[in-house]
């Protein structure tokens, strides 16, 4: 819709670049990356940084600090758990709020989430769910 674009531009002008939240999404599935990027950036409130692996995630973190990381658990080579550990090892990165993305809904996944003290979002999700959770965590 044409007016949405205008509203977005106006929002940026009003609230400034700083108010736009940087969200990092780590997932080996490029379609997921694409869908979340499109879904979130459709609203002018988010800027999405996509990483197609754990390694890529750490690489980007060296250069850029996101406001929140969405981390897929099931990934080849470096898994979500491993990436999580590496992020937590870093004094600065560990302060970034983290939400797991998982297709697993069984007790183990739940326990892991509880144990790690982090939130998680089940796949498949709608973009509204993600936004709701992100806003909640970022205290909007």
């Amino acid at each position: 819709m044409w007016w949405r674009e205008i509203v977005k531009k106006m929002f940026i002008i009003v609230v400034g670049e700083k108010m736009i939240k940087k969200i990092m999404i780590v997932d080996d599935n490029p379609d997921i990356l694409l869908s979340i990027k499109n879904g979130l950036e459709d609203s002018a409130e988010y800027k999405v940084i996509g990483a197609e692996s754990g390694e890529k995630c750490l690489e980007i973190l060296e250069a850029e600090m996101p406001d929140l990381i969405l981390l897929d658990i099931m990934m080849p080579e470096m898994s979500g758990w491993e990436t999580y550990d590496r992020i937590k090892e870093n004094e600065v990165w560990r302060k970034i709020p983290l939400v797991f993305l998982t297709a697993r809904t069984d007790k183990i996944a739940r326990d892991a989430g509880d144990f790690l003290g982090e939130d998680y979002i089940e796949k498949p999700f709608e973009i509204d769910n993600i936004m709701e959770r992100i806003d909640k965590i970022l205290g909007r």
Partner: protein, 698 residues
Amino acid sequence: MNEGEPEIVKFLRDEERLGKLHSKLQSSYKELEILDKPPENVSDDMISVISDTGRKTGYSELDGLEEKYKTIFENSAIAITLTDRNERIILWNKYTENLLDMNKDDLYMKPVELLYPPEEWRRIRSENVRQKGMQHHLETKMVRKNNELIDVDISLSVLKNHKGRVIGSVGVVRDITERKKMEQDLRIKDNAIMSSINAIAFVNLEGEVIYVNPSFLNMWEYDSENRILGKPAVDLWKMKGQYIEIMDALKNEGGWVGELTAKRGDGSLFIVQISASMVKDEENNPICMMASFMDVTDRKRMERNLTKFKTITDRADYGSITYDIKGNIFYTNESFARMHGYSMEEVIGKNRSTFYNENQVERVEQLNDQIRQSGSFVAEEIWHKRKDGTVFPVLMTSTLIKDEKKKLSFLAATVVDITDIKNAEKKLRSNANKLRILNSELNLAKEELSVLNKNLEEKVKERTVEIERLLKQKDEFIGQLGHDLKTPLTPMMTLLPLLRTKMKDAKSMEMLDAVIRNVHFMKDLVIETIDLTGINSTNMEFSIEDIDLLSEVNNIIKNNQLLLEDNNFKVDNKINEKIIIEADKLRFEEIFNNLISNAIKYTPESGSTLTIDAKKGKDFVTISMSDTGIGMTEEQLSHIFDEFYKADESRHDLYSHGLGLSICKNIVEKHGGKIWAESPGKEKGSTFYFTFKCGGEK
């Protein structure tokens, strides 16, 4: 006694008349004196007597009188004897000779003493009749010529002359032998009646009891005869009519013999045998009735018992015979005769040996000896012979029957045909052998079977493990498939709505909407399939905790608020007490989510109300949820919890996958509860019930 006496005795007994006889005798005394003594001594007396009487009556009169008395004297049926003062017999009449069987030689001038047995004479003398000078009456005995004693009744009178001197005596003797005998007879009879063990009673013609003997009192249980004497005899009997009948028989026929039921004073009854007769005088006029009684109650009872026993024996299906000591049979029952192929008539009179089997005569004789010695022998198997010569086994017992005097009376034997028993025994023995063989075969088979069983058990165990493994594999596969499907669903679900917002063409938008709907349906299907496999798998674990039911339900309602409002549903939560249940919170919520979505799906009209309630039982809480939807038939009620069941297949409802209730059932059952649904019928709404264990402090 007096009635039968001749007229003369009455006459003589008359005091006055006897006095006259005295005078007559005294007048004869002169003659007697002449015979005995010097006449001069006598003449005064005689003259004086004659002149004395002559002065009063006149001689001719006296002469006629003397003749009359003389006739009476001679013909009298009593003996009259005169003795002189020396107690010698000087005069006697004809009857005296008859009585004593003596003639003139035996009597004349013989001492009167000789007519009596010495001891009787002494008694008479001791009476001192002469000195007392009075008339004396006594009973004594006299001796006949053949020394036979006869009972007599004597009246002795002393004869005195006018000077009062004793000149002799006169004895009037009556034979009372008959009377004595009768008296004795009567005494015997009286005693007999008194001491009779039979009860005896006399009843007068008016029907009153006039005499009873002690036995009678005993039998009727009266303590004194006063209680019965003078009472009407009819009261002694049970039936008045019978009594009257007997009285009639007595009057008409003079006697009656039979049995009657008697009644005691206390009303108790007993049976008596009666022999009654009419007592009559010589002229055949009835005087009274006499009856003797015998209590036959016991005998009756015995007779009845005997009849009973005889009937039993007659009809018994064992043989029974009685026979004398020589073995001659005088009683047989039908069974014995039939058993041996004879008729009953044929058996009677036959000897027992007829039925012996020749080969066993010796043994039978031994048994017979045993009977004679010990009275009986215990049942023994022997062989008997039939009329046609064939033999058969019997079981026999025999007993010696003795009479009251312990004298051998007869023998009784009981015979039971044991052919069938013997055959059965034989069969049983052969069967037992067969059974033994079969048993050993069976044991072998059993062993084989137990080996097979063991193998089977192992196989079943193997197969079970295999099946469990396959089932787990299936669950894992479905789970994996579900998870694998989730990832490709994610971009669809996120990008399609975004695409929708960028869409400007109405037709494209309609098509995209269809895609979005189906993506969502696919998502639900995937999620619930995974859910179901997760609950089905045996190692599924719940995190059970105590949950406050009311706040949890309120929470669930709040979580579903948007959905409910969208469909214009209201919820009436009727839970009004604090109830704690044991449940996995997330799973518990899943049940409600499923039920709520079902209720919405199956309630066509908007503005309905869902009613939730809970009832606390002893161990379980029953939670219910009612809707006002389309309801269910009996058929549907029985299947709704099956996997992939849809209430209405024909509706081909794309948005219902039929797993919701199946998941609910799994969750409830994993918690140890039950789930069920009720519906009054189509279009009448449904109520779902499920139970959870009470938690907290129960």
